[in-house]
Each structure stands twice: as C-alpha cells, then as structure tokens.
Symmetry: C2
Subunit: 305 residues, 2 copies
C-alpha cells in the first residue's frame, strides 16, 4: 500500500545534555519517511524546502524508495529552521529559535498520483494545511492518521477539531489528551476524544510508553529503558512513521495490527533517540529491528499460570 506523509522537512540545531548538533536534518516528514521506509516501499512526501536543504539528503530518501516529487523547492528560500535545548530529563525542552521561512507560504499541492495514496499520515502542522491535503485526496485513504500538538489547541482549536473529526488514528501526548478533552484521567480523556471522530487514539508518554484506545479496548505499549539517550528530537514522528509503515505493509487496520504497529513504532523511536538527527535511522539493519522487537516482547511478557 502507498503511504503519503505530510510534514515539515527542516533544518534543526539541537542542544542536549549529551552534545550539540548544528544545522542537521530534521522535520516531521523526514523522520516519518525514514522510519516507514523499513516496512514499505511506496512512500510519498508532501512538504516544502528552501535552497539550504541538502540535495544529498533528498537523494538518500529516494534511495530508500521515497518519492520526493511532492517536496516543493522554493528558489531563493530557506527551509524551516528550529533550534532547541533539552533539559536534563530529556522530556522537556526550550525552543531557542523558530524561523518559519518557506513554511510561511506553504500551500501544499499534491502531484496527481499522490491523490490516490492508500494511506495518509498527517504530520504535526497547522490544521488548515492538514485539511488542505485531505481535501485534495481523490478517494478517502484507507487509513488516515494525524499527529498534532498543544500549540494548535491553543491557537486553532476549531480548525483542529475539524481535522480530528475526519481521521482514523490520532496521536498526541498525555498533556495534550488532557487539554483536548478537559479530563484528567487518561481513560476518561480517551472516551471523550474518541467521540470527536477518530476510531483510535494513541497517547504517547515518552519514556513511559504509549496507550492505545478504541471504544472498547485499551493497550499499553512499553518504552524500552535505555542506557543512553542522545537526542529525543523526532521520536514521536519516528513512532508514527514506524507505525504507519507497518500498517501500509500489512494493508489492514485492526486493533491487533495496530498493537503490533505501535510496538514497531516504539522500537523505531527507541533507535531514533540513540543518535542525533536521523543518524541512527540511516544505519539500521533488518536484524537490528528484529532483535529490538524481541527486547520489547521480552520486556512485557509474563504468564499468570
């Protein structure tokens, strides 16, 4: 199945307690595509970049089977730039600088073949842009997933709710689930958010794992306790990319498939944070992934006798 990913393709400068990376490759769509590329061969990105984005990185994506023809290059423009500093706990961070640059005038136009994509991942972006992409699809994709964040809840809640009402899977973190629902208990929050449209809600809790809810079921996916976290940037996007890549490989959205997809997403995210930028995602082998998945299986396995 083909997977269309909307999201930023960007340049990041990242400071963590483990080091600094200056002007490295970032952006939600970048992480999503890299993670998904280990599970499916037909990935398309819709995004926008400036002249400062390195050609070689696009070439690398293409070598992984990613169609980059929907990444609009603005002549004379500069790519979206984010500079951030992570705190000791690696769970919180300060944004030191944001340059919207080419993103300011981003009106995504999907190439004709993109409009027939089987599955769609709406990476975290302005809800109106997420909606523009949805509107250009010729048929409703078999699975639509979306990621978003508190910033859009603060500034564009009405538009955000319109997009949420149209998707199958929503991924947000625990604080965002509380903000979106007005409920403190995550079980109650999930119940309220599922009434807004999505069939599945995934609550990402970082080092504490993730929760998957549908109307009748709940699943808890663990996070692997890691010895070394060097850079948490893109972990959530990598999670979404691994998950949607796995589903695109499988072709069918069931609770059982989604549970497996979330374990794959969690495994890919656990790799992502081991190195800065997308570096670890570039160097993975299938056996790396298989052995990491086995660690997840072992991590939560018990028999009650």
């Amino acid at each position: 199945m083909s997977l269309l990913a909307l999201g930023t393709v960007a340049i990041d400068t990242i400071e963590t307690p483990r080091g600094t990376a200056e002007r490295v490759v970032g952006g939600a769509a970048t992480y999503i595509a890299w993670a998904a590329s280990y599970f499916t061969g037909d990935i398309r990105i819709v995004s926008i970049i400036g002249e400062d984005f390195p050609d070689a990185e696009l070439e690398l994506l293409r070598s992984r089977g990613v169609d980059t023809s929907g990444i609009h290059l603005v002549n004379g423009g500069r790519s979206f730039f984010w500079k951030g500093r992570y705190h000791t706990d690696m769970n919180s961070r300060d944004t030191l600088e944001t340059q919207l640059n080419v993103l300011q005038d981003f009106n995504p136009v999907l190439p004709p073949e993109y409009r027939k994509s089987d599955f769609l991942m709406l990476g975290n972006l302005t809800p109106s842009i997420q909606n523009m992409v949805l509107d250009q699809m010729e048929k409703r994709p078999g699975i639509i997933a979306m990621d978003t964040m508190n910033f859009w809840m603060d500034t564009a809640m009405d538009e955000l709710k319109v997009v949420i009402s149209k998707v199958d899977i929503l991924t947000i973190n625990d604080e965002e689930a509380r903000q979106l629902s007005g409920e403190f208990s995550l079980a109650k929050a999930a119940r309220e958010i599922l009434k807004m449209g999505p069939r599945y809600l995934i609550i990402k809790k970082g080092e504490h794992g993730a929760l998957l809810f549908d109307k009748d079921n709940v699943f808890f996916a663990p996070a692997l306790p890691l010895y070394e976290v060097n850079d948490p940037t893109g972990a959530g996007d990598t999670f979404a990319g691994g998950m949607m890549g796995y589903l695109a490989g499988k072709g069918e959205l069931t609770f059982e498939n989604l549970k497996r997809a979330i374990i794959y997403g969690s495994a890919m995210a656990s790799f992502c944070v081991e190195e800065f930028s997308i570096n670890r995602l570039k160097s993975l082998s299938d056996s790396d992934i298989k052995s990491r998945i086995n660690e997840f299986v072992k991590l939560v396995h018990f028999d009650m006798e």
Copy 2:
C-alpha cells in the same frame, strides 16, 4: 510461608480533588497486611500505636489471619498521624501535618515466633528501625524486601545503604532511583543500585507502571488506566503487600515469580486508589482480583506473528 511486615499503623487525614477523609486508618504496615491477606494466611505485623487507634480495625486485621501481637500499644500515647493534600495530578502532594507521637520512641521488639518468619517486608521507616528488625531475626528470611523514600536518602544515606546491602528486593520510585544512584537513565540507575546489594530492584512509576530489574533482565509492569482515582495514599505499600503476599503463597523467589508478584501488586494498588484509606481493600472478592488480573493480561498482550 509466614510473612512479617514492619511499618507504621497510623491515622491519616487526606484531602484529594475528589474529597476529604478525616482521621482514617493508614500506615504502611496496614496497607501491606491488607493487600497480602488475599494471598497468604500467615502474616505478622510489627508496629506501634497509641490509644486512639480503633480496636475494631485491629480486630478486622485479625479476622483476615493477621497476627497483631507485635503491634505495641502505648498507654496514654497517640498514634502516628499524617495529614496531606494531593494536587490535581494525584502524583504529587503536600504534607500539611506530621505528628510522630508514639513513633518517636519506637524500638521494635519482635515476639519470639516472629523471629522465625520465612519472609520479611521492611516497610518505609527510619533505616535504623528497619535494621533493628533485621538484627532480631533468628535466621535470615528467605526473602527480604524493603521500601524506602527520598527523605531517608536526604537524612540518613549511610544507614540506609547498610540496610539496602542486606535485602533481596528494593522498591523505590523513579526519582529516588535517580537520587540513590546519581544516574539519570533508569537502566543505568538500576545497574548501579544492584551493585549495592539487592538482587532485584523495582522502580515504581505510579500511573506509568513499574520496572523490575535484575542483573540480566528487565520487566515492565503496566498500570491500568483508571477512570476514577479517589485517594492514592498507600498505593505503594499495597503494591508491596500484594507482591510479598503472592511470593509468600508461592514460596520461591525467581524472576518469573517476581513478575507475576508485581502484576498482583499492581492489581491490588489499582484497587487501593479507587476509595479512600483501606476501604476498597476491605471489600474485595477473589473474583474481583481475578477479573482485574485479566485486565492486566489483556492490557499488554500482543503477538508479533
């Protein structure tokens, strides 16, 4: 197997966003004994109370097979009293009042039959008191577990480390694991703490579940997403009580048994927080517990195909 529990038997006044409970039964040993009583019939408490502690509550414990002869009643004394207020997130709280009362002069003296107990649970108390109980054991118990907290790390680290060096299982929360080890990564923290003596370390993460480490393995026990949390007081003690009660029923300490014990402990803790004080622990049936355990099994179960 017989289980000896050291800990407070106390009076609490508790304020949570869901309500207030004035002068209700509390204390680590109370919660431990109630939780363990669903799994084993031979439980002994060593503690101290004043005249204000209700006789009827001791009678109820005895009716559950708990030996209370090691609870020293101080004539004219008042029981340890704690008053606290939980914040909206139920994970953090302010202590409004602490009256040590009879606890100030607590020198535990074990009745002769207590000294032969098979298993020992050292509830959270001054390390020197935990050590006094250890020193009175005629033979080393088959399993020694201990709970402690950041307060003892701040005020009595040297003594604390002596006790830690003598136990099989240590239970602390994630912040305490970081403080005790000086490591931020919980995987690294566990590695360091296991060098201090314990064969097993359990890191309690409240609503995020618990991690079990030994030298070679790690296990992640989930917490059940709950619709209603009324009072988190005693959840950690209830977890320890369920765990040690299960182990006392089984008789053998292996990683696989300990995994199951932690699931039972988590299930008991999930009941504990549903009502104020020990109220929910008093009303449980075996089928309540069985069906809660099934929810835990379902919560983390997946097949990778």
